[in-house]
Symmetry: C2
Subunit: 428 residues, 2 copies
Amino acid sequence: MKAYTQMSKEELKALQAELEGAYEEAKAKNLALDMSRGKPAAAQLDLSMPMLSVLDEKSVLKSENGTDCRNYGVLDGIPEVKQLMADVLETKPENVIVYGNSSLNIMYDTVARSMIHGVCGETPWCKLDKVKFLCPVPGYDRHFAITEQFGIEMINIPMSEDGPDMDLVEKYVNTDAAVKGIWCVPKYSNPQGVSYSDETVRRFANLKPAAKDFRIYWDNAYCVHHIYDDKQDVLLNILEECEKAGNPDMVYQFASTSKITFPGSGVAALASSAANIADIKKKMTVQTIGHDKINQLRHVKFLKDAKGVAAHMKKQADIIRPKFEAVLQVLEKELGGLEIASWTNPNGGYFVSFEALEGCAKEIVAKCKEAGVVMTGAGATFPYGKDPKDSNIRIAPTLPTPEELAQAADLFVLCVKLVSVNKLLENA
Amino acid sequence: MKAYTQMSKEELKALQAELEGAYEEAKAKNLALDMSRGKPAAAQLDLSMPMLSVLDEKSVLKSENGTDCRNYGVLDGIPEVKQLMADVLETKPENVIVYGNSSLNIMYDTVARSMIHGVCGETPWCKLDKVKFLCPVPGYDRHFAITEQFGIEMINIPMSEDGPDMDLVEKYVNTDAAVKGIWCVPKYSNPQGVSYSDETVRRFANLKPAAKDFRIYWDNAYCVHHIYDDKQDVLLNILEECEKAGNPDMVYQFASTSKITFPGSGVAALASSAANIADIKKKMTVQTIGHDKINQLRHVKFLKDAKGVAAHMKKQADIIRPKFEAVLQVLEKELGGLEIASWTNPNGGYFVSFEALEGCAKEIVAKCKEAGVVMTGAGATFPYGKDPKDSNIRIAPTLPTPEELAQAADLFVLCVKLVSVNKLLENA
């Protein structure tokens, strides 16, 4: 197929007519499909159903240290669930707090606590004129929603295949004391699916922040979420690297079992230095008596250890992989060589990041919606919902069935072609 | 027995010697007992064990509206759990948000949100010079810990058998715009076990707050926690009364199943007006995607409805009642008529409030501890841990076994007698 960018006006016009016809036909199918959110499919959830039987009315609900998991108490999680989450995050149990069901909630609370009480004795952010966060883009909309709600100024940092632009990160963090944090999804990033290179992680660990209370918000949401058996990204351990670099307190790491067992009924964890853990627990003790220890026990009985988690995630990958492959095949087959788009080929995570021609993303998403396929809103992957180039679209292939996915991807590429042709004609 | 207050110095001295001997004997027993926290006993927790079998790997985890409870979503709780908690709180499901496992956490978050974002569009409290809360005393230490952590000034309001001193409440709330809230445990109050009278509830509903963002923090922690079948307090519905009085938005009501099913593994709820619910959900949507819907479903399958809850609470009462009776009998038998103490006789809840002679509470608690019986810290029932009269002690009889309780109560009254005699001799 000839690249659209090489076509004459006449060729583009003929193509436009053809694509418009195809789009009208597609609309007539009255599709109702959703590629908008990173939700596991029912088949993935089925894998965790046995977890609901590991505890029953005859079980002894004692933690390994004798705690009755049915009663009040235990702020930071029972020992065995701290061990499990430490294994998953490659750290020690004493560096871990296990919470309730949501790592997003932990991140929100961490920002809220910094606003009201400050970080490790520093001035509460609500007393400062200006607080800024760096936001690698495209990124995760729910991160940006948190910082936006707290009135924190967000600064875009471009992403490459190695992670955020570290020259820019260093410039901001090392010189501007108003910069208090950076949102990172370091492994199989949302939405690109890229993993930070060793050099990127080391440069993070060696930052010299102007603000004492600067923290890296290391959302390791996809730490064990591989797609392939033979192609798995390996991420350098940020806690260790920070310690080596003399910055032991610079990172909050977050993770959960939401996409391991059940979203909404999993366990979530924060891992950090001893000093940060102590600072957080001191405040937390007023917020709650403790989280759901029975569910913590249930998770340990079901997943057992890091090996158990890996075995379970292999089953998840077997369900997810064909979906990614189906979408990527359609993209390659239909858009390869047309010079109107590029996209990522991740080894893990939940998303493909798609780059359309500048100024086309909103229109593509609108056209998809008109024909019954819901995509993540264009702009959602940027702070304030504003994609400066209006070119990025996040594709989430996990929720639909493979059949639905084929239909949705076909419609998507059709919309990409049509909107791109329109744009090229506009500019011709 | 002759009242201690009527005794001569000589009589008191003879008594002192006798009590000191008894105390030394008691110490030699090396007791290790705990009447400090309102925790259910293991026998109470056993009642809820069947809840762990109502869902298993074969269950269909769909909510009544078709939602897959295993996946992401549903900010305010699945419909059937909203109905259940609405039944318990005698309101409508649309006035309820069901959260995770902790009503304390909801209260903390509610104060935190008011600090950072303000209440229904009013100025965030962190931007104000001064924020005050009224604190009926003696009261619940964890309430006071929240307001203390946020730097909110706490004002003591004396409690009577009808609830807080409403003359004082009206004076503060209706004239001082810095007063933004009041902590209430309106039914079987912590620690008195008294329930607010109808007149008290109506006077609450008819407040004319100087601050638009004044809210009553109505912690209905013991709403269904009766001790007796034939003596049950009935509390007027505050949401209805506020609506009648033209103050529909003045109350946040809190409750949980912590002391119905499992503390730490229950569900918690907030009930309020449509305007407040909308205000809260708007902020919450950034904080979390949703709470544990599987556990919500588990609770509905087990408790079913208000009738099911009542039947379950009757079984709890059967376990708790003998413990309260045991403690109250010891108090009456050993301290009745001595004019050195008074205490409450609650129909529900988790506590007995004990009033010693002025200046004796700390010493009594210390003497108990020295002999191996842990009581709630003296002063804990007051803001900043400061009981101005040093006279109040909270007794929590639910956790120990009846045998342990008899021993603990015996030691307690011995310490009360000894410290009282010492005090009377000091003043003689």
